[in-house]
């Protein structure tokens, strides 16, 4: 589904990714772990197409399409969902309006008719219930006044509604208390653990992986993957630390 080959990327002319290789197939859940500054968030932003993150070498294909040929909104419409470590506040635009625009914009891209207000609300109710999020929250402006945990849950509601093929989740576990962590973890499983979908979890800690069991774990250090393994690698990291495992 996603094939990253020798990816190099810079931010403000500073090389961050230095030859990243990664291949993710449908039905798989991968986790990228690594120390601060290794390039984890950059990986997500480069794949999502954030301005200022410049690809200098290498390639990435998503379902056979050259990802870097697509604009950010086209990548989303193609089925790529980027979960933000710090979800952005958009004053004056309600979550419901935002999501309906997003969903219908993606449908338009695939020549599908827009969802009616009623159909959309039904979907929004279903997905917010899955994440135990009060519908009233969705009437409020996007992320404005939300706690860290509420923002992350709102992201998972967005993911549920937009129903992507591939979710790249950047530190979805940061800022979550134990209950919210479990709810988000279960949400990820319910929405994304399917034979035709895949997930790339970007995280510092093992704890999210207790809920969302990865098939593969990769250690990212200094812009490239230095070690890959199964779920046991995450436990090993937790015990020995990055230095212990990478050295």
């Amino acid at each position: 589904m996603l094939k990253i080959n020798n990816l190099h990327a810079s931010v403000a002319d500073k090389p961050i990714l230095k030859g990243l290789n990664l291949s993710i197939n449908a039905g798989e859940i991968h986790a990228i772990m690594g120390p601060n500054g290794a390039g984890k968030s950059t990986t997500g932003y480069v794949l999502g197409g954030r301005p200022g993150y410049e690809v200098t070498q290498g390639s990435a294909t998503f379902d056979g399409q050259d990802l870097f040929e697509l604009e950010p909104h086209e990548r989303a419409a193609a089925g790529l969902f980027l979960g933000f470590q710090y979800p952005v506040e958009i004053p004056g635009v309600s979550n419901l309006q935002f999501l309906r625009e997003a969903l219908n914009s993606q449908r338009k891209f695939h020549d599908l008719p827009p969802l009616s207000g009623g159909e959309f609300l039904k979907l929004a109710k279903e997905k917010s219930a899955l994440l135990k999020m009060d519908m009233e929250m969705l009437k409020r402006p996007v992320n404005v006044g939300f706690s860290g945990g509420e923002k992350k849950r709102a992201e998972m509601v967005q993911m549920g509604i937009l129903n992507p093929k591939l979710a790249i989740l950047d530190e979805t576990d940061s800022g979550l208390d134990i209950d919210a962590l479990r709810i988000c973890g279960e949400g990820i499983n319910a929405i994304m653990r399917k034979p035709d979908k895949a997930v790339l979890l970007i995280t510092h800690y093992q704890r999210l992986l207790d809920y969302v069991k990865p098939d593969f774990v990769h250690v990212l250090a200094d812009g490239r993957i230095v070690k890959s393994g199964g779920p046991e690698l995450a436990l090993e990291l937790e015990e020995a630390g990055y230095e212990g495992v990478v050295a």
Binding site: R50, P72, H73, I90, V93, S105, P141, Q158
Partner: protein, 240 residues
């Protein structure tokens, strides 16, 4: 004023004088007196040219004026309000300027007697090489104690080549007065735009949504709010 103004005149400093020359001489301002205790509401959609309105609010009168200034030519709205005891005046204004257009709102509110309130919420959006200016003056006469005058001016520049001017002005001759004014000129939040794109919203649509949110406050509570918001939205979409 019979002669064409020059840039030296404060109120005409940012005007499109070449366009103004063709409109000169301007008709007198429409003059309206709101009788004591009465209410008045007016929505003005200016599609070009100069609109002038002069209001006198007698004791306890209320007036709400909402304006949308958008055109492909010079567009100027002048509002004057003179407030007597306990009067209440609201001005909500939006201007959308594109191309090489000059749009401006010039508002003068005079608190002549005690305990009157005024609120001005003015939002400008400028694209291309357009200029959007807001000149707002609040004058509080001697003895007009208990005045509450608020001014909020914000502008959004869509291109680096666009210009926004905001000039809030207070002239206060009374002691017991609450006057607040704020102004800010900025650009659309790049993080917000990327967030929307990452969810699949096309760039032009994302901008429209953010700008709609930006201007909405100016029309909050307007008698004809739905119509104004719709007209503003149509103008916004044309601008993007």
């Amino acid at each position: 004023m019979s002669n064409l103004p020059t840039r030296k005149a404060e109120d005409w400093r940012y005007a499109d004088l070449a366009a103004l020359e063709k409109l000169w001489p301007l008709p007198d301002a429409e003059s309206i007196t709101v009788a004591a205790g009465d209410s008045f509401a007016r929505a003005i959609v200016n599609k070009g040219g100069v609109v002038r309105l002069s209001l006198t609010l007698e004791a306890g009168a209320k007036a709400a004026v909402h304006v949308l200034n958008s055109a492909d030519a010079y567009a100027r709205i002048e509002i004057e309000a003179t407030l007597h005891e306990g009067a209440d005046f609201t001005l909500g204004g939006v201007q959308l300027a594109s191309g090489a257009q000059v749009a401006e709102i010039v508002a003068t509110v005079r608190h002549m007697e005690p305990s009157a309130n005024s609120r001005q919420i003015l939002r400008s959006v400028a694209a291309g090489t357009a200029t959007a200016s807001v000149l707002g003056k609040v004058y509080v006469a001697k003895g007009a104690d208990g005045t509450d005058g608020q001014q909020s001016m914000r502008a959004m520049l869509l291109d680096r080549s666009a210009t926004a001017n905001a000039r809030p002005e207070l002239e206060i001759h009374a002691d017991d007065v609450k006057c607040a004014h704020g102004c800010a000129i900025g650009e659309l939040d790049a993080n917000g735009l990327f967030y929307m794109a990452a969810r699949g919203i096309e760039p032009a649509r994302a901008k429209a949504l953010m700008l709609q949110a930006f201007i909405a406050e100016a029309f909050d509570g307007a008698e004809d709010e739905d119509h104004l918001q719709a007209a503003a939205q149509a103008a916004l979409e044309a601008l993007l």
